[in-house]
Subunit: 205 residues, 2 copies
DNA sequence: CCAGCAATTTGACACTGTCAAGATTGATTG
DNA sequence: CAATCAATCTTGACAGTGTCAAATTGCTGG
């Protein structure tokens, strides 16, 4: 059976075949448009053309669905990191790209970002093993990047872990304050983060 | 009519007299205990001993109530700032106290803090004029403090506004990542913010 | 003691997440 | 080819939720 026949069959079904994937991406869209607060499983089901409770065969919970969306976000962010590391830029530029990329990712996908780093998901038991895995891995990678930039004398600070935590904190804070509209008169969050960049460097150039 | 008779009368009523204040403080407690998500107007009403919709005579909305709680939080935080500025400490120590105080306030009142800086309230129309006022004032005061610390050569950076935004971003980010449990293995958020402190200073002492 | 006024309650509605049980589907056998 | 089967999806139901309109209560001045 070829891929084509699979697709044709799926289209001819009046139930979906790949409901899980469909639900996740539809939910991601709805969240991006109207905010995470206003996502209801029922509206989602209607949009996808399926009954209210269909999602419960693929997700334990509403929270479970949200975790899947967040996990997707982490995968996308990891791809960005891969791409960055594949570049042949000078390390100083890589660091700058990393910082700008982080802010750009956060401000262009604010709702998904909130899902990735908002309390609801990280805390306690409300976190899928899948999400726990990928988020942990992602943070580990970022620590290693900072560690490397410190080892070549680019980034300052003594403990790599602490420095990674500070840098991440700064990026997260600026991103969130910007997203939430607290920096009322700032056009792009990049303006702020660029002025923060020298703080992290050994030589302020 | 003395204060006593007022209180006696209020107690003898089986309706409350000062429902508004009662509602705000009860809601603040409930939020502190079980999180902002799980606050419902109906449970709040039951706790206060009043009917489901009583709150609607003092607040337009549930959101309006939340704004009142947030505004209270800002008032408390401003008092902390007053107290700090009244001290006769060296400025370098004041700056440190400011930073530690911010983190301490945020981590000890996580839910209230979320209300003060979470998207739901700042953004767009979902913000009471009262809240808008006091939050604006508070930020203004913090900018002035940073401005002063820059003018005496303590804090680095060229634009005071930008530096205030960066510092605030860093504090906010570290506070939030800590509150949300992202710094899995960190005991106190102060550990991290203390290692970030030198970044802001002209001389790294 | 009663009219009027403000504070509070009751009733109602549309929405939400979630569960248990039933119905439908496409695939797999005899 | 037809009948069965397991997976997939749907229907019905329930307890919550925020919020509005209308009814009710309690207090105060005449």
């Amino acid at each position: 059976m070829t891929l084509d026949t699979v697709l044709i069959k799926r289209n001819s079904n009046f139930h979906h075949g790949n409901l899980r994937q469909t639900l996740v991406s539809a939910a991601t869209n709805m969240i991006a448009e109207n905010g995470i607060e206003s996502l209801s499983l029922r509206k989602l089901a209607e949009k996808v053309g399926v009954s209210r409770t269909a999602a419960y065969h693929y997700f334990q919970d509403k929270n479970d669905l949200l975790c899947a969306i967040a996990a997707n976000g982490f995968r996308r962010w990891q791809q960005s990191l891969d791409q960055l590391n594949a570049n042949q830029l000078p390390e100083r530029d890589k660091f700058e790209q990393y910082i700008l990329g982080y802010i750009s990712f956060a401000t262009h996908n604010p709702e998904e970002y909130e899902l990735m780093f908002g309390r609801c998901i990280w805390k306690q038991s409300k976190c899928t093993p899948e999400l726990q895995d990928i988020s942990h891995t992602t943070f580990q990678r970022q620590v290693e990047m900072i560690e490397y930039w410190q080892s070549i004398g680019l980034v300052s600070g003594d403990s790599p872990l602490k420095m990674a935590q500070v840098i991440w904190g700064t990026l997260h804070g600026i991103a969130k304050l910007f997203i939430d509209g607290v920096y009322a008169d700032v056009g792009r969050a990049e303006e702020i983060v660029i002025s923060a960049l020298p703080m992290f460097l050994v030589s302020k150039l």
